[in-house]
């Protein structure tokens, strides 16, 4: 065995007093961290491959296991940190691009944590959501410029297709291939129960999800996997995926070993072949080209569905969103750089893109300045950790939010960031049958429903405190926000005042 120059990341601590040698950890760890000793009875641990996914910790019936960070000090150096040294060693060994899963772990500023919310006192009453109606129903789609009515009061406006959501929270795109069918099914069942939508991602629609198509957003991405007439029509709306927050400007690569029979059928590609999404759509090189594709999709669906365009938050995001609106998009989803992914080159994930807070605020402002805000619905994506983040996003101008990491955590994800290895012990980011069966949709959908229901309650509670009884009155209501510890420029871009002002 060659020396790999990289110390292990974690140590498994086994409390021998509590361990009953039942072997549950041995059978559950797909990284093979636990094993039986030669006597065939005593369980021991080999920490080298531990990724801290906590599967063994959570399933151990006696609580005998604990994962600890393996501390191995390097000579202090603020520039050449252990992480960079280890990554160099890994590349020296493999010669490859570093890959990671989930959103960036780097300590970039999180503006949600630097924005404070308002509440009513004395001069205006707060509302108790348990006693009074509180509206969080959200309607997405292009809104008419103005409303005209005939004498009897009937609208004479041709209403563009609208999508009604019972909560401003939707589940963002995760394809079958990047996540397991059981994970997708759980989200689909949860979306149906919650009256919201889930996004099937770019991997086509598995036949098992047919009963949930009225709750499905289907994606048309650069790889065009699984796209055909029925796919477009079996959906609530269609999304053109231009970019992803975790990896703006680059495509996707689902390795051949993950392309099982089921995945190959859904994606309409040969079994075992690599599923490669090119970086650009090769038919979209301009706003005019995007307009053609939007038009083509609207034709294919008989103008019955809104068409969404999903872009990554990059430097000129406001102008790009404006262009998408003018190209005929009904919904524009902006994905911030903290957004998750099944696999992305580490350097891209950690260095490319801008935070969703700034992108959302500048896009909303630009659309308002140009007088075309009502033409599109803005959907924000890219790491919403709690209901307060969602409230802040709506107050910054979002119509709805895409959440994915939070529901995944509800289903067992522990953010070990090794989705790309396909060995997800929780049965989420894997296609291995012995692992995917660990995720029972009947249990997991309820956990997701519970999570979003709890967030809905909290959103109502926060809105009530502000004296607002409808999410529509919160949308773009930046007076409800105050910045704390932010520079003049940051406040200007966010369009909010500093706390105390």
């Amino acid at each position: 065995m060659s020396v790999n120059y990289i110390p292990r990341r974690f140590t498994v601590i086994r409390d021998k007093e509590r361990c009953i040698n039942c072997g549950c950890c041995v059978r559950q760890c797909s990284n093979e961290c636990h094993l039986f000793a030669d006597d065939g009875k005593t369980v021991i641990s080999d920490s080298n491959s531990c990724v801290a996914c906590h599967r063994c910790v959570d399933l151990c019936p006696t609580g005998a296991l604990r994962i600890e960070k393996y501390v191995c000090d390097y000579r202090e150096n603020a520039n050449w940190t252990p992480q960079y040294q280890q990554e160099i060693c890994r590349q020296a060994e493999t010669g490859g691009v570093l890959l990671s899963g989930m959103g960036t772990p780097k300590p970039y500023p999180i503006y949600w944590d630097k924005i404070l919310l308002n509440a009513s006192q004395v001069t205006n009453p707060s509302i108790d959501p348990l006693r009074e109606p509180m509206e969080i129903r959200t309607i997405l789609g292009r809104k008419p410029e103005k409303l005209t009515v005939e004498k009897k009061g009937k609208s004479t406006v041709d209403m563009p297709p609208q999508v009604i959501l019972e909560t401003p929270i939707m589940f963002s795109a995760m394809s079958f291939g990047s996540i397991s069918l059981n994970a997708q099914k759980s989200l689909a069942m949860a979306a149906k129960e919650l009256g919201t939508l889930f996004n099937v991602g770019e991997g086509g629609l598995h036949p098992d999800l047919q009963p949930f198509t009225d709750r499905a957003i289907v994606q048309v991405a650069s790889g065009r996997f699984g796209v055909h007439s029925d796919y477009l029509n079996n959906s609530r709306f269609v999304e053109i995926k231009i970019g992803q927050g975790a990896k703006p400007g680059i495509g996707g690569h689902l390795p051949g070993e993950k392309v099982s029979v089921e995945v190959s059928n859904a994606r309409m590609i040969p079994e075992g072949s690599d599923a490669i999404s090119p970086a650009p759509h090769h038919d979209i090189y301009s706003i005019e080209d995007l307009r053609q594709l939007i038009w083509a999709i609207k034709q294919a669906t008989g103008n019955s569905k809104p068409v969404s365009v999903k872009i990554a938050a990059v430097h000129n995001v406001a102008a790009i969103v404006s262009g998408c609106a003018r190209a005929g998009a009904d919904i524009v989803a902006i994905d911030g750089f903290r957004g998750g992914t099944g696999a992305a080159p580490t350097r891209i994930r950690d260095n490319v893109g801008i935070p969703i807070e700034l992108a959302l605020a500048s896009a909303d402002q630009r659309l308002r300045d140009e007088g075309i805000r009502s033409r599109i619905s803005l959907v924000a994506a890219g790491s919403f950790r709690c209901s307060a983040d969602i409230v802040k996003a709506i107050a910054l101008g979002a119509d709805a939010c895409y959440c994915a990491s939070a529901p995944l955590i509800a289903m067992g994800c522990h953010m070990c960031q090794t989705c790309n290895t396909g060995k997800c012990n929780w049965g989420i980011a894997t296609q291995r049958p012995e692992l995917t069966k660990r995720l029972n949709p009947d249990i997991m959908y309820k956990r997701v429903v519970n999570l979003i229901t709890a967030w809905n309650h909290e959103i109502k509670e926060i809105m009530g405190g502000m004296g607002i009884n409808s999410v529509d009155s919160l949308r773009g209501n930046r007076l409800m926000l105050r910045g704390i510890g932010l520079s003049e420029k940051e406040l200007e871009i966010l369009g909010i005042r500093h706390a105390g002002e």
């Binding site: 007093e17 549950c24 059978r27 559950q28 019936p61 006696t62 012995e434 029972n440």
Partner: protein, 147 residues
């Protein structure tokens, strides 16, 4: 009657059912004492067969017409008329293993008294079902004949 059904598509092969069964049928009812220190060591009534790819937990089917009850030479093996649960009368059992030989499912284990699932008859729900992390064991009444 209510019986335990195993759903092999959901079974994780974690074998926690065995651990909790042992605990439920131990003297101390304490998971660490029962699985580590008790003497005689409690025996699990349920056994998971298979590997990570395909596994299922097997325990007594509590047959409507149980052969073990018919074959028992001392009348220790009893089918409760009210609940339908087949259990061993510990005082009568001499450990002759006749029941073990006639059980078509191989669900009785060697011991004196013979070791078999009693559906945790003093509890609301069997320990294996209660503690299955993936709901691969269900405790329900599907009616009809068992076999």
């Amino acid at each position: 009657m209510k019986r335990i059904y195993a759903i092999e598509e959901l079974c994780l092969n974690c074998r926690l059912c065995e651990v909790y069964c042992k605990t439920a049928h131990s003297q101390s009812k304490d998971i660490i004492k029962a699985n580590k220190y008790e003497d005689p060591a409690p025996v699990s009534r349920v056994t998971v067969y298979g590997d990570n790819f395909l596994s299922a937990a097997l325990n007594c089917r509590h047959c409507d017409d149980p052969r073990c009850v018919k074959a028992c030479i001392t009348g220790a093996m009893t089918k409760d008329k009210k609940t339908g649960i087949v259990y061993v009368n510990e005082e009568k059992c001499i450990g002759c293993m006749t029941c073990l030989a006639v059980c078509p499912y191989g669900c009785i284990k060697v011991g004196k008294p013979a070791v078999k699932c009693d559906l945790c008859r003093n509890e609301d729900e069997p320990a294996c079902v209660k503690n299955c992390p993936n709901h691969a064991l269900i405790y329900t009444d599907l009616g009809g004949e068992d076999e």
